[in-house]
């Protein structure tokens, strides 16, 4: 491709190269290859994953690799040291202003390259963009279903990137080919990770999007990125700390003065040690349970008025390991365990979604919970560094983690549905272990706890709620 750069430029385009090594390797590569085109580096492979490029030993060490290597040698190429991820494969895309994809080539094995003339043809004036909403053939759906049955019993192969790619074979692309113009969507924790990708996708679908963030600065930076990437200017920020009931109350009252069609509870924390909020609540419980409970109640009347309202709780697969705990949600009776506190509150979110679904039955507003699988987000990297180090090459992208959130918020086929728990666009059971099941009485008690926690400024009442 580098050898045909002048042909590319003659067609009014530019060659942009992305490599997966460190910047120091890129500098040497640039000098060695005498490049005068943009050269970018992606050592974390985020762009590679976002582009859907393959990675794996089987793909690299294929029988054709030897033949491709001989061809490369014959053409004068010499392999020096491997600087970057040796198992990552490449690809070629042609993108024009406005973001239309004109050409796509996904490398299948080492030494795999597209025909340059095909790439140049995609740059011609009469080239047609690729329809990225093309439907899945029935054979692909059947394959996806069969593979899902193989991987789903195993958490690693289901929750990770492989699981998403297998499950996505069964997705209906037109499910979120919708126009959300006139819809107003609120997303908490939206300045990064899954929350950001959710806000981005909803704005891309034409919705007015409000990013609810603790930091005005980070929120505005994220909002600006959403506006730039989507061209949608109806993107704003509301500063709110979901762990601070006063902040939630103030924000809720402001937000309730306008229509609300979608409310996504994504904000999350995973502290190492017990932190008590000004309201006397344990931080994880405040952020994941009390704050979202209060905000949903404050916006309930607007959600009920919506033609097709949606509330989505972004839970976690970790909730499968814990039972609902109403006895000590504040962690005052036990030695604090941040991971356990996180999982218990994520379990509580799933129960809350069901309870709100019951409360809002007949109003036209659907309430859902979901879990995103294992996604590579800044929150995972900072809160679970060891887990992130071990799994980062198999983690989903934040966009893949957000996919089911966006689907629950936007898919017209879900109109009238409510109360389900979802993973990769399929409704799933909420218990894998018998000991995690809660009774109906337990669920009612959670509701009562939330009412009292949000009506009281002290956490003391949590201990006496019966």
């Amino acid at each position: 491709m580098r050898d045909r750069i002048e042909d590319i430029r003659a067609l009014g385009a530019e060659l942009v190269i992305v490599g997966n090594g460190a910047p120091s390797f890129a500098e040497a590569f640039r000098e060695d290859q005498n490049l005068d085109c943009p050269l970018l580096v992606d050592p974390e492979l985020r762009a590679y994953r976002a582009a859907g490029l393959r990675r794996g030993r089987v793909e690299v060490l294929s029988p054709r690799m030897s033949l491709n290597a001989v061809r490369a040698l014959g053409a004068g190429y010499r392999q020096t040291s491997v600087e970057g991820d040796p198992w990552q494969l490449g690809g070629v895309f042609v993108i024009r202003p406005g973001g239309d994809l004109m050409y796509r080539y996904i490398g299948r094995e080492a030494g795999d390259h597209p025909a340059v003339d095909d790439v140049l043809e995609a740059l011609s004036a009469d080239a047609e963009p690729i329809d990225e909403g093309e439907g899945n053939p029935w054979a692909q759906v059947l394959l996806g279903q069969a593979l899902s049955r193989v991987v789903d019993p195993f958490i690693v192969s289901s929750f990770d990137r492989t699981g998403f790619r297998i499950h996505s074979l069964t997705f209906r692309p037109d499910d979120i080919e919708v126009d959300l113009s006139g819809h107003r969507c609120l997303v908490t924790g939206a300045n990064s990770g899954i929350g950001f990708e959710t806000a981005l996708a909803l704005a891309d679908l034409g919705a007015e999007v409000v990013l609810l963030c603790r930091s005005a600065e980070r929120g505005e930076q994220a909002a600006e990125r959403v506006r730039e990437q989507t061209g949608n200017t109806r993107v704003s920020v509301e500063v709110v700390d979901m762990s601070d009931l006063g902040s939630v109350r103030a924000a809720g009252e402001r937000l309730a003065s306008h229509p609300v069609d979608v409310l996504v509870h994504n904000a999350g924390v995973l502290p190492d040690e017990r932190i008590e909020t000004a309201d006397g609540l344990e931080l994880t419980f405040a952020t994941h349970v009390a704050g979202p409970f209060l905000l949903t109640r404050l916006l309930q009347s607007q959600l009920e008025k919506s033609d097709d309202g949606r509330v989505v709780f972004v839970s976690s697969g970790g909730m499968y390991t814990r039972r609902l705990n109403n006895e000590d949600p504040n962690w005052t009776e036990r030695e604090y365990d941040g991971v356990a506190a996180y999982a218990e509150t994520k379990r509580a979110q799933v129960v809350l979604a069901k309870l709100f679904a019951e409360k809002l039955r007949g109003t036209g507003c659907g309430v859902f919970a979901m879990h995103p699988g294992w996604a590579d987000t800044p929150a995972v990297e900072s809160s679970l560094p060891r887990f992130h180090r071990i799994t980062r090459n198999i983690l989903r992208t934040p966009a893949e983690g957000a996919d089911t959130v966006v689907w629950l918020a936007a898919c017209p086929r879900l109109r009238g549905e409510s109360g389900g728990f979802y993973f990769d666009r399929e409704e799933r059971r909420t218990h894998l272990l018998p000991l995690t099941r809660e009774s109906d009485k337990d669920r009612r008690k959670l509701w009562k706890l939330c009412v009292e926690a949000t009506e009281s400024s002290s956490g003391d009442r949590l201990r006496t709620a019966g």
Binding site: V16, I17, G19, N20, P23, L39, V41, V82, V92
Partner: protein, 40 residues
């Protein structure tokens, strides 16, 4: 979601290690975006 929207959201650096954005390269002209396997 379109490929370009997914790519536009990725944090990436230029060869000097400075933060960059893929979307700015196709904002005014088409690009041929090549992902290479590795340097070397």
């Amino acid at each position: 979601m379109r490929t370009s929207t997914r790519l536009a959201g990725v944090e990436i650096s230029n060869w000097k290690g400075e933060p960059d954005s893929l979307s700015r390269y196709w904002s005014e002209q088409p690009i041929v975006l090549v992902f290479i396997r590795h340097f070397g």
